[in-house]
Amino acid sequence: MTDVYNAYLTSTGRFLPGPPINNDQIEDHLGRVHGKPSRLKAKILASNGIKTRHYAIDKLQQTQYLNCDMGANAARDCLQRCGLRVSEIEMLAAATSQGDLVLPGFGSMLQAAMELPDIELLTAHGICSSSLMALKSAANAIRLGEHSKALVVASEFASRLFKASRYEALDKHYGQDFNAEFLRWMLSDGAGAVLLENAPRGRCLQIEWIKSFSHADAFPVCMSVGQAKDGRQSWQDYPSYAEAEAAGALLLRQDVRLLDNMVKLGVDGFLRLLASELVTVSSIDHVLCHYSSDFFRSKIFDLLSAAGAMVPEERWYTNLYERGNTGCASIFIMLDEFLRSRKPAPGEKVFCMVPESGRFNTAYMLLNVVDANA
């Protein structure tokens, strides 16, 4: 019989490119479409509540850091904090919504950027929840005893999709498209990393479980790149990429009509975990929830309260408003700052929740604060 080990999250790191950018400065970085300020920006920002964020492009929309470089910087921060050398890493699990290249996998580019020799590699491709998918695979490799040290890195470079020139490339008859602008004022860049080990190190987090529930079979696509508004065909089905771009098939789009489902499915998954006794409401000391905008925070609270399953509001932690929504990197960036600023005590439980709107995947993780020296 194979032994099953515990997996511990023993270090975290992050990288946020450049200075914090406030709401008035956003368009200086992303550019003004045809030189005009956006008419939707104020409304969308008021709803998501984000005050500052970071961009890996400069004011001329030139790339300052590749996605893999941001990931590598976060990983180095993570390793530095616990004094580990890169040569000690046995596995790299990487997550992103969009790498610098279409192929090969993001993990390969990240591995090269970090100069990590001889590792086992995994690239999890998806949107916000892909970081927890990568984390689960790495944690399982540790639990099975295949590896003793694994690095999980999540990195996002969304601002490339939001350059004014992307919208200027649309066919001149295209018209306004709220769904294609919605995320322009919500997503930003950054990377987070976590180290997993088979033994605790100082004050760290034991992974109790990671679970996810995907509902792509029951819902249309809600967040996408690769198909035009009302379009069925893939960007690759156009005769040329230029035509795909002109048709709006390369814009990052959110079908806002479907967003309420994300709240319901997020709560549904939580009720499912309660029913299967994987967690109890009263045992949760801290909630780290990747809600994409402030608008959804109150909706989640309402639904949880109606169910009688609300974790008191003071136990919810987020850094969304200062660090921005960095897609799959958000949960790691949140975890990193939470551990540094809140210093949770041994015995406390940290519940993480990442609902992804792409085609509705919700991921959850329960962590137990432990102390190796206790």
């Binding site: 079979d217 029951a218 819902f219 249309p220 549904d268 009720l271 029913a275 309402d302 169910a307 009688g308």
Partner: protein, 226 residues
């Protein structure tokens, strides 16, 4: 809405009912006609078929509710009042449905002469059978689903149908009719659940009835393409 329930069994039951509802929404989205609605391929013919098929169950809708009301004895007078209120909302809504059908160009004689499809038959039969039993507290589960459907039709399907086949809101009166969209409705429901659901057997019965209604309702919509 934020009021916590007094008894834990009722609170557990509400959580179970919420899960049944969320599962039902996913099941509905897998039914071909609703899949077309969600994917944006829903046509005027689809809408006519939807109304035609719904009408045969809707016209009987108030019967199972009034039957339930009459099956409660004096020990359940509070819940009986709630059920009677519910029946008042329902008992002539099929007239709106027929108006929408005719406004769309459908033939009134055809919809009035329509027969229940297999799913409607099963749903109606099941509801009447459960409602006829003494003190059928499990009908709370059926009411949960039917009220939820009213909300969903009003807040979700009606707008989507208007958006896809440009009806301007005038031919979706039936779908919009049951949208209460207020917290007091849920509060009333929770109060009823709180007073009735005190044992796990009651909890299980309520949830089971909700689940059966969910399945049979999907069957009813499945049969539109059947």
């Amino acid at each position: 809405m934020h009021k916590t329930m007094d008894n834990a069994e009722a609170q557990q039951c509400l959580q179970s009912l919420m899960r049944v509802w969320f599962d039902f929404e996913r099941r509905l989205n897998r039914v071909p006609i609703i899949q077309r609605l969600e994917n944006g391929e829903f046509t005027q013919q689809d809408y006519l078929s939807l109304l035609l098929n719904l009408r045969q169950q809707v016209i009987e809708g108030s019967r199972w509710i009034t039957r339930s009301a009459s099956s409660f004895d004096r020990h359940y007078s509070e819940i009986r009042s709630q059920v009677i209120n519910h029946a008042k909302d329902e008992h002539r809504d099929y007239l709106l449905l027929e108006q929408d059908f005719v406004a769309l160009g459908g033939d009134l004689a055809a919809i009035q002469a329509g027969a229940r499809n297999i799913g409607s038959e099963a749903l109606h039969g099941y509801l009447m059978y459960r409602a006829s039993r003494p003190n059928p507290v499990d009908m709370i589960g059926a009411m949960w689903m039917i009220e939820g459907l009213g909300e969903k039709m009003a807040s979700n399907w009606a707008d989507r149908i208007d958006e896809l086949i440009a009806l301007g809101g005038e031919k979706t009166c039936f779908l919009r009719y049951h949208g209460h969209n207020d917290a007091s409705h849920l509060e009333t429901f929770c109060h009823m659940l709180d007073s009735v659901c005190r044992e796990s057997t009651t909890h299980r019965a309520i949830v089971k009835t909700a689940q059966v209604v969910a399945r049979l309702y999907c069957m009813q919509l499945d049969e539109i393409d059947g």
